[in-house]
Amino acid sequence: MIKHLIGLGVLLAVGIAYPAIFPNNLTIAISVLLFAGWATSWDLLGGWNGQVSLGHASFVGLGAYFVAIGQSQFGLAPWWTMAMAAAFAAVLGYFWGQLTFSLRGPYFSLSTIAVAEILRLVAINEEWLTGGATGVFIATLPEPFGIDLFSRTAQFYMALAFAAMVIAIVIAISRGRFGYQLRAVREDEDSAMASGIDPTATKLKAFMLSAALTSIGGGIYGIVLAFIEPHVIFALLLSVQIALTAIIGGRGTIWGPAVGALVLVGAGEMFRTTFAEANMLIYGILILVVVLFLPRGIVGELARRHIRRLYAKRAQG
């Protein structure tokens, strides 16, 4: 617990100093932080609760569209529309979960792909609201306390606050009743019921929270992009990237998804600039290496070895 809080402190300290030290590398850092937040949100459901979603782009897109449409059509400030998006995402998660959590195995995952696809079609066809296939453009934003939200520095701090908030929430959950309910349902639903846990209710709660948090990051992403197109924001690729980030970093661990974001997004960018065309190859090899040699993900594997070592030491002495 203390360890994780120190980790959070380090993240915030490094984050706060970062724009002053690397003023020219803000865009990539914003990506890392948004992915860290999304993957950590995804992991509440996918890692801690074991329900793999391949549709989290839905919630990213909802957040982005709420902020963009709210601003451009109704003049609503992003903080209001982000809160609305979070509430809407939670409600969507609730109904979606009600429909699909009785499905076991890969069927839930498959159903999640469909939802992002439905939202993409809605966004393309409801042109009066969403601008259709052309998308929505954010031309103006309010300036709270004189802060220009179009500046990369302001966007960086928003992304930092988002990532830190989600990680803090997971730290708080992980040691308490809800955290253990999540893991128990992931491990064995019958055994969880024998401990008095309602598996469906637990999954619904995890899904609603995961969806709401993801959409808040989506709202920030909307501001960063300033221009939202349905086929980009509701893309299956984005859903897969979010899931992959958490899986590579370590499912069901507090820092795994954030580490995954640093490795995948950070390394991805480095490869792109250094190796040009060969970057996807190297990206692929990196994923393969992790999957083959670190099946629990980077942090998951480290944590497991640490626990084994601790236990071996205790057993000896």
């Binding site: 308490g176 491990e187 055994s191 401990s195």
Partner: protein, 238 residues
């Protein structure tokens, strides 16, 4: 003795097959009821139907005079059922302590309170020194005791033990028998499915014998073991 648990006319069907046919049982606090029968007699199915893990075709179940027939398994747990699984089902990625914490959180609101309850139960079953070991690493006898700890940590009024003696070596068996006796001495109602006759005879106040889904005999351990139909069911006729 007032009944803690009553099950009347329990019938379970799988497709066209009647796995349990019109079986009734009742259990008072501190009482141990043994459920025996040859393989495939429907013991575990009956067990699962009463605990809510298998759908019932007909029958009625009450816990402390409250009708729980239609409640899902997790609600029965909340009202006072604790159960073990025949094949142990620990949460493998969690430590021994965390496994029990999951159950302890049912009644404990705070982490510290849940941890105290869980450690208490682990001490009771003799696993306290293994608390921080991954559950995956436990041997059979200890996995059994972890199952027991998980069932006890929900603070049950009735505990359902599904073949917890099977495969234990003689000293471990003696320990387990003594442990189950101590549970009933604390006032817990115990329903056990068991193949080990030694345990059934020593522990049970009352025994029900199932064969092909039917109740074929009922009584004290002595009465049922001398019952001809029981001997027939176990050994067959010429």
């Amino acid at each position: 003795m007032p009944n803690v648990l009553r099950a009347d006319g329990i019938t379970v069907k799988f497709g066209g097959v009647t796995a349990v046919n019109n079986v009734s049982l009742s259990l008072g606090s501190g009482e141990i009821l043994g459920l025996i029968g040859p393989n495939g007699a429907g013991k575990t199915t009956l067990f699962n139907a009463v605990t809510g893990f298998a759908p019932m075709h007909s029958g009625r179940i009450t816990l402390l005079d409250k009708d729980i027939t239609t409640l899902p398994a997790f609600k029965r747990t909340r009202l006072g059922f604790g159960r073990t699984f025949q094949t142990e089902r620990p949460f493998e990625e969690l430590t021994v302590l965390e496994n029990v914490l999951v159950a302890a959180f049912l009644t404990a609101g705070r982490r510290s309170e849940a941890e105290r309850l869980a450690m208490g139960v682990l001490e009771q079953v003799g696993l306290a020194d293994r608390a921080h070991q991954p559950a995956l690493d436990l041997n059979l006898a200890r996995r059994r005791r972890l199952e027991l700890a998980k069932a006890l940590a929900v603070k049950p009024k009735v505990i359902f033990l599904d073949e917890i003696m099977a495969g234990l070596n003689p000293p471990a068996l003696r320990e387990m028998i003594a442990f189950v006796r101590s549970l009933s001495a604390q006032g817990l109602a115990v329903l056990m499915v068991e193949h080990i006759m030694e345990a059934i005879i020593e522990l049970s106040d009352h025994v029900i014998v199932l064969a092909s889904g039917e109740k074929i005999a009922e009584g004290t351990p002595h009465q049922v073991t001398s019952d001809e139909r029981v001997i027939e069911a176990y050994l067959g006729t010429d």
